[in-house]
Amino acid sequence: MEKKRRLHIEYGDHGILYALIIFWIVLIITNENFRGLAFFQTILTKASLNAICGIGMTFAVISGAFDLSVASQVALNGVVLTLILPKMGIFPSIIVILLLGALMGTINGLLISKLRIPSFIATLAMQMAYRALAQLINSSPVVVDNSGFKKIAAYKIAGIIPTAFLICIILGILGTIILRKMKLGRNILAIGNSREAAIISGINVAKTEIMIYLLIGLFTAASSVIIVSYLGSSNYGMQSGLEFTVISAVVLGGTALIGGKGSIFNTIVAAVFLISIRSAMDSFGVDSYWQRVVEGVILIIAFSITEIRNIINTILVKRKAKKQLSMQKASK
């Protein structure tokens, strides 16, 4: 019994990783398209684009909030990046984009923490605003003509590991350090568990909230650099709907939407999982319209798994309590 429960908890913590591995094994057995190295490189590269943005989003979801503006942030970053890249060169442009991301994040954070606008609606308004700004800056698509810059996403280290995935892992480790080892991370977890308790215990909630959106801005900026490098172009309408894919990955990774717990590692794994499912459906010839239905159903299952797990946990706890009660009665 004890062993079974421990197994259950461990399964719960890395459930998405096991699911991914089983899914991959099934794919490798059933379809020969999935057996090459190139296939996995493509999946990991594509997944990294969403996962890097997901690292930032994980902070927001842990604190019990969302950022719906990330897709528009990517668009604005992308449009600005393609404009300044030919003039400034690669590294200065990336720094400008990171600063721009930090600025957008800070604006979101100020609106949410200082003006008390609920995160959902504040980031919804900023989603419209950033997208509109991107369109105002440049309404026509731009193709990147810089082979060095394109290599950021396309280069494979030692011919095996895609750079995009390596960057994603490094940023993931960085995010985990912030979340687990730094005061900021502990404050974010505390706010997610109980905002009131966090205020009473003296945590500067407003400052922490601004920091959360600043982090999202930075990670989204990093993600947009790689997205532009991968796509080799930018336009103001790019990546619309990205926020939903990213939130799906975060939630599928087991980060509770009510806040208070979560794991960046699982977010990355879930992003890979979502892209794997998409590629699998592509190569099995699933109609692209049905793919959307399937994705929706997978999300519903993923979301209700937490609830089902909760129900099982309550039953287990109740049964244990009953057992102890009956044992106490017997000993009396």
Partner: protein, 322 residues
Amino acid sequence: MSKKAKKFWLIWDRIGILCILLTVMIVFGILDSRIVSPAQLLTALNRSAVSGIAAAGMMFAICAGGFDLSVGSILSLTSCIIAMQLTEGKSTLFAIAMTLIAGGVCGIINGLLITKLKIQTFVATLATQLAFAGVTLVYCNKAIQLTSKVNSQLKFFSTGKLLGILPMPIALLILAYIITYLVYNFTPFGTKVRAVGSNEPAARTTGIKVDVTLILVFIVTGISAAIAGVLNTAQVSIGDPSLGEGFELDAITAVVLGGTALSGGKGNVFGTLVGAILVVFVKMGLNILGAGEAYQKLAVAIVLLFALTINGIKLIMEKGDK
């Protein structure tokens, strides 16, 4: 907070959004008098019917403490259904009944996911948004142009006039809001929605069937989206699987502008109507002034942020800086 300030906020809650609308109208009127001509105002009302009707349903969802992000997909789905049915030669009444049933079924699915599987409204409707959009594309993968013969009866809803004076969309809009007002204020359902939105555990303890109420709320949202879908299809004469993309944001914007509290429990029927009109009016006014789509979006975002900022100031004054 002083008594005067309290009184100010009380009045602001009732007519604040109307003041913003009037200010915008005056500003536009100064810039270009054509924008505030009666004909243009009528056009603005006509155009706001679609988002206004969907916003009425959305108000119930937000008032019950949730969201419905799937209304855009429901709108696309119903648009395709009615176009398909009419092209196949079914009667208009039958086609409209089918769309309303489809809207209701979508609502039931949302409601069941939220109450029985305890998925949060935000993510549940996010998932069904994907799923419904997929179903729409499976059902009908390209836009269906309605021929004038097929469209003759449906056209009544977009260009017809009630009693020879009142354009149908405006009549429907007014009717929808009268019904919403009555349901929200004078029926047990309205009271239950407010109770669930302001404090769900308390509502449960007092014996309100929270699950049934929530499922009903999402049925209402689904059906109102379906009505909006029929109206929109009649206006553009096309059954389009991408008609409703991003539409949920329009509806939510109207509700939030109208002063409905996002924390739930406090709706504002009249405000929602004004909010829907304001969004359409701002877009139309800028369009006449020659500003592009981007400026229109930016303006809507600024108006929304402005309304939210005022709301935030009110919150800070009420509760102190905590």
